[in-house]
């Protein structure tokens, strides 16, 4: 028998929460978060048009860097939305 240290350290189990989904898109405010990668803007532009046709109001936001999580002020600007689509081009 041989005993060795675990090189992974002590991972903590994160607690997660998943938001409740809406029943319909009609009349909802939907946030569209663009990450700035190539063509993410085109994905978001067309999504905005099609969701507006379905009765949603659109709020748009843009991340300053696609290589980092969105800063708090960007998340804050979307926190009042009923739902958000985060578009990642590439």
């Amino acid at each position: 028998m041989i005993e060795l240290h675990d090189p992974r350290g002590s991972p903590e189990t994160p607690s997660v929460r998943i938001a409740t989904r809406p029943k319909s898109l009609y009349g909802l405010t939907i946030g569209l978060l663009e990450n700035g990668k190539e063509n993410a803007d085109a994905l978001i532009d067309r999504t905005a048009e099609l969701l507006t046709e379905r009765g949603a109001t659109i709020v748009r936001a843009r991340k300053p860097s696609f290589s980092r999580p969105a800063p708090t002020d960007v998340i804050d600007s979307l926190a009042h939305c009923a739902a958000v689509i985060a578009a990642h081009g590439g």
Partner: protein, 346 residues
């Protein structure tokens, strides 16, 4: 602790599950304790969260991976400082661990503790043949893989990676320095040692045996720095210059210092927007946005620098005296370099 039937089973398991592709030394309690005793720090000290897993690495966790990497105990304090630097949000470790770019952490060690750790700053400073140089970089990589969970094909999306991803560390050569060391410029103290952590693309050699003046030599540096394939060309960021002693002597003789070298290269290493348009990573929105900081974003004559500011260039001297070969290391511009002071071993 993990328990195995015998050392051979354990070895196979460690190489396969916790390795980087090379053989590893098994982290027995004895070996880990020896390393911890040598550094004199509380094994439970938390250095910070290693992303993407977000697991908080302790001094002990680093020691376990350092043993696996084969790190000499005299170099442990440098490895600890490197891991601590990696947890700085400015460095963007989560991005480096998951990007499709080839970015790898480069550890630059400047100051007297580099020699104490046994690092080589002379011939082959960026190459093979020195245990401390190779295992300092490897320790950080193993911490990133094991504590941080950055694994190729799972969370690490690098398209090709680079040899630097196995481990990339070098020391500044102090005995031939004509100006204050990088550590001294960072801390204001001649006796301090620092590690500077930088998101490195593959290193690119810069050979020049003809230039007799700093002016001609710096033009070669500038041309090499502005290569359009590197991400710097369309998104200005940091860059590392590892200047060889022969080149450094020419620059010093012509009264250049790290600050004036950086200012000069900030001006010279630029590409006109008209050259970048339609080339490589040129992006109508993004590149023009960057360009607007340096001139009219719609004028093809506007010259876009490859380093964001003069301070973005990390000027170091390293290597042997047998020729005029320096190295330019471009970056992944979503990361900014950080440094930490190395605490001396107890």
């Amino acid at each position: 602790m993990l328990t195995f039937a015998d050392a051979e089973t354990a070895y196979d398991y460690f190489v396969e599950s916790y390795g980087d592709g090379l053989p590893v030394v098994l982290p027995t309690a004895q070996r880990v304790d020896d390393l911890l005793r040598a550094c004199g720090r509380d094994p439970n000290d938390v250095l910070g969260a290693i992303f993407p897993s977000g697991t908080r690495a302790t001094v002990r966790d680093v020691a376990v991976n350092a043993v696996m990497a084969g790190l000499p105990s005299a170099a442990f304090s440098i490895a600890l400082a490197a891991v601590e630097a990696a947890t700085d949000p400015t460095f963007n470790l989560n991005g480096i661990q998951s990007t499709t770019h080839h970015a790898a952490p480069l550890i630059i060690v400047s100051g007297p503790l580099a020699a104490h750790a046994g690092m080589n700053a002379a011939g082959n400073a960026l190459g093979q043949g020195n245990r401390a140089n190779l295992t300092i970089g490897r320790t950080l990589r193993l911490v990133m893989m094991n504590v941080g969970g950055g694994r190729p094909g799972e969370t690490d999306m690098s398209v090709q990676g680079s040899p630097a991803k196995t481990g990339f560390a070098y020391a500044e050569r102090l005995d031939l320095l004509a100006w204050p060391s990088l550590a001294q410029r960072q801390t204001g103290r001649a006796d301090s040692t620092t590690v500077t952590l930088f998101a490195a693309e593959g290193p690119h050699m810069l050979g020049d045996h003809r230039s007799a003046t700093a002016d001609r030599l710096l033009q070669n540096f500038a041309e090499t720095m502005r290569a359009p394939g590197s991400t710097n060309s369309c998104a200005p960021g940091d860059m590392v210059l590892a200047i060889c002693p022969q080149h450094a002597a020419i620059l010093a003789r012509d009264d250049f210092t790290p600050e004036t070298i950086a200012r000069e290269l900030f001006e010279r290493a630029r590409n006109p927007l008209g050259f970048l348009e339609g080339l490589g990573e040129f992006d109508e929105t993004r590149t023009r946005r960057f360009a607007s900081a340096y001139g009219d974003p719609n004028d093809p004559q506007t010259r876009v620098p490859v380093i964001a500011r003069p301070e973005s260039l990390i000027v170091t001297v390293t290597g042997g005296t047998t020729g005029g070969f320096s190295t330019v290391v471009p970056t992944w511009p979503a990361s900014t370099h950080v440094f930490r002071i190395v605490r001396g071993n107890a």
